[in-house]
């Protein structure tokens, strides 16, 4: 045997379990030969009999408590171990077998590589998702029939009504479709949609609300809230907002948002490990991803409004003025705007101003139409009506 010819004998006390029987026995281990070609010879201390011989090339350490060493052997039963717990024995093992932890370190490095690789893959996937989501959502929406979207829109409308009911009631101002105000609205919508292929009939309603906003639902419904109407000073501002919302309808943005949110929820759940999607972080994450997406939508709707304004020859920059006025009102509104899904007004103003046609300017609505619209909720007549 190689070991017998070794000039210095290195040995230590340990315990041994063979991985076959739930028993532990004290042993003496002799380290024979040089590092990689050597072997650990397991000896029964009672009678000096050799119990096992583990080639150094086959042994590895497994994770264990600090200052203890547990050695396994490839090819041996999974639980076979030489267990070193005595501090002096641990020191002997570390000195005699410096390469003992090599396999575990290599494995650690492999795992690190794997972690790095899968993180990179995840980042790439998320990036691809962020870039691809408008494309994907657009594709998915293009195969959704407008009839279904209209149905979805009805559901959303019910939910919106429920939210309003909870806050004191849902009221459509001037529900008579043949009133001057409503006729003015639909004739404006018809003019905006002239020559544009829209999958839906656009139905505009003015809704009583404290919130200064306007929303487009899936399926062609548009709600202009009374508080925003109160803030609206000129027919151009009003027309700009409406044309913008009609742009959302024509491009089916609400439906795209719905589809995208579902996908994003899944993705965020994947990253956070909560696929049930019930955590607050999940909801916020969806918002984070979708806000980027909705910015694109806003810019797209702005472009639609600009083109409509060029065609109808009215001044669309009022849209940006109104946005400035509504969002820049107080610190609280500003704080909310941080979370807003709308792009910054500065960027939008620039987009709206791009390639603005030369005059002639025509009023977006006749003064009689504008008068009728401003009176729909019985509110005060804003200044600047011409």
């Amino acid at each position: 045997m190689r070991s017998t010819s070794d000039p210095i004998e290195i040995a230590f006390s340990a315990h041994f379990q063979d991985g076959n029987l739930a028993r532990l026995r004290p042993i003496r281990v002799r380290v024979a030969g040089k590092d990689a070609e050597g072997a650990l010879i397991v000896i029964d201390p009672a009678n000096g009999r050799e119990l096992a011989q583990w080639p150094t090339a086959d042994v590895f350490t497994v994770p264990s408590r600090r200052d203890t060493i547990r050695i396994g052997r490839e090819g041996a039963p999974a639980g076979a171990r030489i267990i070193v717990e005595d501090p002096s024995a641990v020191a002997v093992v570390r000195a005699a077998l410096p390469g003992l932890g090599r396999k575990r370190n290599a494995d650690k490095r492999r795992q690190m590589g794997l972690i790095g690789l899968s993180s990179a893959a995840l980042v790439a996937f998320v990036a691809a998702y962020l870039v691809g989501v408008p494309l994907l959502a657009g594709r998915v929406v293009s195969v959704i029939s407008p009839a279904w979207e209209t149905q979805v829109g009805e559901t959303v409308a019910e939910q919106v009504a429920e939210i309003f009911e909870a806050q004191g009631g849902f009221e459509i101002c001037d529900p008579d479709p043949d009133s001057p105000g409503n006729r003015a609205l639909s004739s404006f919508a018809d003019r905006v949609l002239q020559g544009v292929e829209s999958p839906f009939d656009v139905r505009i309603a003015v809704v009583r609300s404290e919130v200064a906003n306007a929303i487009a639902l899936p399926g062609g419904r548009i709600y202009y809230f009374s508080a925003l109407l109160d803030e609206t000073r000129t027919p151009e501002e009003f027309a700009g907002v409406l044309a913008h919302e009609i742009g959302h309808v024509v491009h089916r943005h609400s439906m795209e948002q719905l589809v995208a949110s579902a996908g994003t929820g899944l993705l965020v759940g994947f990253v956070l490990g909560d696929v049930t999607g019930l955590s607050v972080a999940g909801a916020l994450g969806v918002m984070l991803v979708d806000s980027n997406f909705s910015r694109r939508h806003e810019l797209e709707a702005d472009r639609f409004a600009r083109l409509a304004a060029e065609r109808m020859q009215f001044d669309v920059s009022g849209l940006a003025d109104l946005l400035d006025r509504v969002t820049g009102e107080d610190a609280f509104a500003e704080a909310l705007a941080l979370l807003s899904t709308h792009p910054l007004t500065e960027d939008r103003r620039a987009a709206l101003a791009a390639r603005t046609p030369v005059p002639p300017r025509v009023p977006a609505l006749t003064s009689a139409q504008w008068q009728a619209i401003t009176e729909m909720c019985g509110g005060p007549v804003p200044a600047g009506a011409d």
Partner: protein, 416 residues
């Protein structure tokens, strides 16, 4: 000389010599600071790897708990791999996608059934979480070695999930009175299907063992609830001069007493249940005996409560500081810088990170105080009578399932 050495290679002691059955003690050597280090490092890496590292963190935590748990002077060894957890999770996600698609479709196409679809989904999740818990248990058991022998689990995860699922209505209908029967039934299924090597555990627990403590606490809390209810009707709130309602002294006292009793009942019941159920387990001639002292469990919850108050105060102070500084415009420049990329995204990102940090802090506190404390109490309260009888157990079975715990991870069931 050979006879002095205990072990399979030595001859067994002669039958005529009376041997006193030796009891093996269980202890836990893990330090809270060491666990804190693992957790904090793990959370930072998890954040840096977009969540991927969490599978490695789970493995590290388990190694910590396992390797520090000494059973008859030998630690448990955890042999599970993080990659298996990662793959299992990926598969679980694949399973979930069609469920999501369906629910999304139903909620948009047939809104009148949307609530039903969500109810079905959550019912399904609850059912699946039973399946996942049992399967996850198998994953952990077959990756646990002691004295070089692997644990194992027979039985079917589907049957376990069904049992768990159908016990719920029974417990509800009986107003909770069937709870001890449910607990015992589930313990029986779990532990009579648990193996150590080639030897199967036997569970002899009876629901009756829980009856005294459960029904006793049930009755006390019920009586107190009735008194509080009665007080609120018979002894309504008085009003001060300016009309502010004030709870009457007796009513308030009873409410405080009943809440205190309820808070004490939970740890008391937990400790009794664990002690009674786990002490009903035997493996061949060896028997597990567990005595989990309730007062220490109560002390841990109190400790957690105190630390949580401290943590909350600190967090509010930090929040107040941030708001003050931001208001004074010190961050105006920073906000401006962020806004070049999109102010909204920066703010939402900050909120998400802040939220995750806060949740992580509380979760860490919970694990350091209660998670580790509970494990330590359980371990140190346990001992194995006639532990030498285990020495004849032979290795049996292999790691199973190969891909681990995905569903359990996705549904967030199964701790440690």
């Amino acid at each position: 000389m050979g006879e002095l050495v205990p072990g399979p290679w030595g001859s067994p002691p002669p039958a005529d010599v009376p041997i006193e059955a030796r009891t093996g003690e269980v202890s836990f050597l893990g330090r809270r600071l060491a666990l804190l280090g693992i957790l904090l490092r793990g959370y930072v890496l998890t954040l840096a790897t977009f969540g991927i590292y969490r599978f490695w963190l789970v493995t590290q935590r388990r190694r910590f708990y396992w390797s520090n748990t000494m059973v008859d002077d030998q630690p448990l060894e955890y042999t599970g791999s993080s990659v298996q957890l990662l793959v299992g999770f990926l598969l679980a996600v694949v399973v979930f996608i069609p469920v999501y698609g369906t629910v999304f479709y139903v909620s948009t196409a047939a809104p009148e059934y949307a609530a039903l679809a969500y109810l079905a989904m959550f019912g399904g999740f609850f059912f699946l979480s039973g399946y996942a818990a049992f399967r996850g248990r198998r994953f952990r058991l077959t990756r646990t070695l002691w004295r070089g022998i692997r644990f194992g689990q027979s039985g079917s995860a589907w049957i376990y999930a069904l049992k768990r699922f159908f016990w719920i209505p029974v417990v509800i209908i009986t107003l909770g009175l069937a709870y001890p029967a449910m607990v015992t039934s589930l313990y029986r299924y779990r532990f009579s299907n648990t193996w150590f090597g080639d030897r199967r555990m036997v569970f002899a627990g009876k629901a009756g063992a829980l009856a005294k403590v459960f029904y006793g606490l049930y009755a006390i809390n019920l009586v107190l609830a009735c008194i509080v209810l009665y007080q609120s009707v018979a002894n309504p709130w008085s009003t001060t001069a300016d009309g502010t309602p004030v709870p009457s002294m007796t009513g308030g006292t009873w409410l405080a007493v009943s809440l205190l009793v309820l808070c004490l009942s939970v740890p008391l019941y937990i400790s009794r249940e664990r002690s009674a159920m786990l002490s009903s387990i035997s493996l061949g001639e060896a028997r597990l005996a567990v005595r989990m002292p309730a007062r220490w469990l109560v002390a841990q919850y109190l400790c957690y409560g105190l630390f949580a108050i401290v943590l909350t105060t600190v967090l509010f102070l930090v929040l107040g500081l941030v708001v003050t500084v931001a208001e004074q415009g010190a961050f105006a420049g920073a906000l401006q810088a962020i806004s070049t990329f999109g102010r909204g995204i920066g703010a939402v990102l900050a909120i998400v990170l802040g939220y995750l940090t806060v949740v992580t802090l509380y979760a860490t506190l919970w694990e350091i105080v209660i998670g580790l404390g509970y494990w330590k109490l359980l371990a140190e309260g346990a001992r194995i009578e006639n532990v030498d009888a285990i020495e004849t157990v032979r290795a049996h079975g292999a790691e199973s399932p190969n891909i681990g715990e995905g569903l359990a991870d996705a549904l967030n069931v199964g701790s440690y």
